[in-house]
Amino acid sequence: MVKGLAPPVVELRGVVCQFGDNLVLDGVDLTVWADEIVALVGGSGSGKTTLLRHIIGLNRSAAGEIFLFGEPLWAGNYLDQQNRRRRFGVLFQQGALFSAFNVGDNIAFPLRELGVVRENEIRDLVAYKLAMVELEPEHALLMPAELSGGMVKRVALARALAMEPELLLLDEPTSGLDPDRSAAFVRLIRRLQRQLGISVVLVTHDVATLSSLAGRVAVLADRRIISAVSLEETRQLRHPFIERFFGPSAAMD
């Protein structure tokens, strides 16, 4: 298998996270390979967002190791870390668009930060990224406050893609969207993943999203990843959380 050649995109070993007395993660192990989509599922408040924040280096784990693209997350000096951070894109749960910038400037922001891309190139790239997430060029002038929930997610996705990331981290990309929009957004993510050949880690609550998107399902329960196998195999597992999550009521829809 090709897997053996390149190092895994994300590798977590025994990650521990504690807020005060609240032990949220206790020895999380997870490996994400290039080109694959891994869905992270777990109950509300089980620490999915927290785990994602550890992967992108917003939180620092109390114990354990995190490797991105084969290198320790915190290795190297400031510039090395900055370069590492530019290799992934993140879609936050609420979009986290810069409210003082319009849509176009939001997408252009990371490119401008790079300091080497020219304005006419940025305009081409913004137009392209907008089209990529199925928005119109006219939307570039809108302010984040003028966008609907679905559009916020699309713009945030376009911004996450602006730096041509090799890894995309999505926190509940379909929450807050109606089933129609949510299905369209999932199709969009899948198309982009195939087209760009990137790895995707996404947090989701939605069984429909799971079945149409995920290659593997990582189940976060009891403060650790209890399994990370394909959806079919996950359904066979005997665990109270999995049985509730994929149980009879979930199977209905």
Binding site: N83, R86, R87, F98, S99, A100, N102, G104, L114, V116, V117, N120, E121, R123, D124, L125, V126, A127, Y128, K129, A131, P137, E138, A140, L141, M143, P144, A145, M163, E164, Q195, L196
Partner: protein, 368 residues
């Protein structure tokens, strides 16, 4: 990852190798741009050895080619797909924000006038709404936002006491020290009590506290209302049938109006204490003499003027703060500009109104 590079090979082809991705290109971009420019026009291109091409690399090439496919191009189907996708959206200008023209300048000037009128109208509306709310509350005493009122009194009054005392004390010391030096030169040290008494009680106390409170509590009120707007908390209140003016604005305005005279009293007292200490040290004026002379040379009217000004300033600061807070749009820029505007307007208004007080009350409480 191989470094992106290009060279002209033996057959005259421009041969590209390496990973042409943003991450790699960004490091050598200046050099790559020069090399791209140096490729002779009409050269054939060979992209088959490119390991990876992302939309940035594709856009770079496409712009170099003048947004046309070169006459001769050797490329894999996969990379051609990437280029085609980028080409489809290249050169279509994004809509630009409208430019600034002389007409726009004129419009801006006019809109400044209108925005001033809007501010004035909104402020009057707010004041009117608060009056109506008060009338409503008189008829429905159970609806009084007493908890909010007391919380605000604590926040804007009690918590402001230490800093007000510190500032007042220092100003008192400095004022006393500097005046004493001048008075000593003329041999009229006894007038120090007049200067300090009148200056602090009538003028300095209220204005000092107003500026302090505008910076401290005015900005906080504006920012709080603004963030509540941004997070839709104000809308949430409205859907629960709770009036935002009664629950959010009125307690702030009432609290500040009530508390400001007390703060003025407190600050003036501490400032006089500072002045008295300084006088003792510099001139040897005894506390007993100072305290005995103060009521004789400063008519009582001055105290009422000082406290009255405090109440008016408090009302103005809270009104201005809430007015700007309710205008904040849901973005960080608006939050910042309205908070600044709130403090600046409040301080300016306070000083303007203080000048009006000075003119209107020029015959009251000044011993001739």
């Amino acid at each position: 990852m191989a470094r992106p590079s290009l060279e002209i090979d033996a057959r005259g082809y421009c041969r590209l190798t390496g990973t042409w991705t943003l991450g790699e290109l960004a490091r050598h971009l200046a050099q790559i741009r020069l090399q791209l420019q140096a490729v002779p026009a009409g050269s054939p291109w060979r992209l088959q050895e490119v390991e990876r091409l992302d939309s940035f690399g594709a856009m770079l090439l496409w712009q170099r080619w003048g947004r046309r496919w070169p006459r001769e191009l050797e490329i894999s189907e996969e990379l051609r797909g990437v280029l085609t996708a980028v080409a489809a959206h290249s050169g279509k200008p994004l809509p630009r924000p409208p430019l600034f023209t002389p007409l726009a300048a004129l419009v801006l000037l006019g809109s400044l006038l209108f925005s001033f009128l809007h501010h004035a109208r909104d402020l009057v509306t707010l004041l009117g709404q608060l009056t109506l709310d008060l009338l409503f509350l008189l008829r429905h005493p159970r609806q009084w936002p007493l908890k909010e009122l007391s919380a605000n009194v604590h926040k804007v009054g009690v918590k402001a006491m230490p800093v007000a005392a510190l500032v007042g004390f220092l100003i008192g010391v400095v004022l006393s020290y500097l005046s004493a030096m001048q008075l000593e030169a003329f041999g009229v040290e006894a007038y120090l009590v007049d200067i300090l008494g009148l200056g602090i009680i009538r003028e300095l106390g209220p204005v000092l506290v107003a500026i302090l409170v505008a910076g401290r509590s005015g900005s906080a009120m504006t920012a709080q209302l603004g963030v509540m707007r941004v997070t839709e908390e104000i809308d949430a209140l409205a859907t629960m049938g709770i009036s935002r003016t009664i629950r959010l604005v009125l307690p702030k305005v009432l609290a500040l109006t009530l508390v400001m005279p007390l703060l003025v009293l407190w600050t003036s007292a501490v400032a006089l204490l500072g002045g008295m200490l300084s006088a003792k040290v510099q001139l040897g004026t005894s506390f007993a003499f100072f305290l005995e002379k103060l009521p004789q040379v400063v008519p009582m009217a001055n105290l009422y003027i000082g406290l009255g000004k405090g109440a008016v300033f408090g009302l103005l600061i809270a009104l201005v703060a809430c007015h700007f807070g309710l205008r904040i749009r849901p973005n960080t820029e608006s939050l910042a500009s309205n908070t600044t505007a709130s403090v600046v307007t409040a301080i300016t208004t306070v000083i303007l109104v203080d000048a009006m007080f000075a003119v209107a009350l020029r015959n009251v409480g000044v011993p001739l």
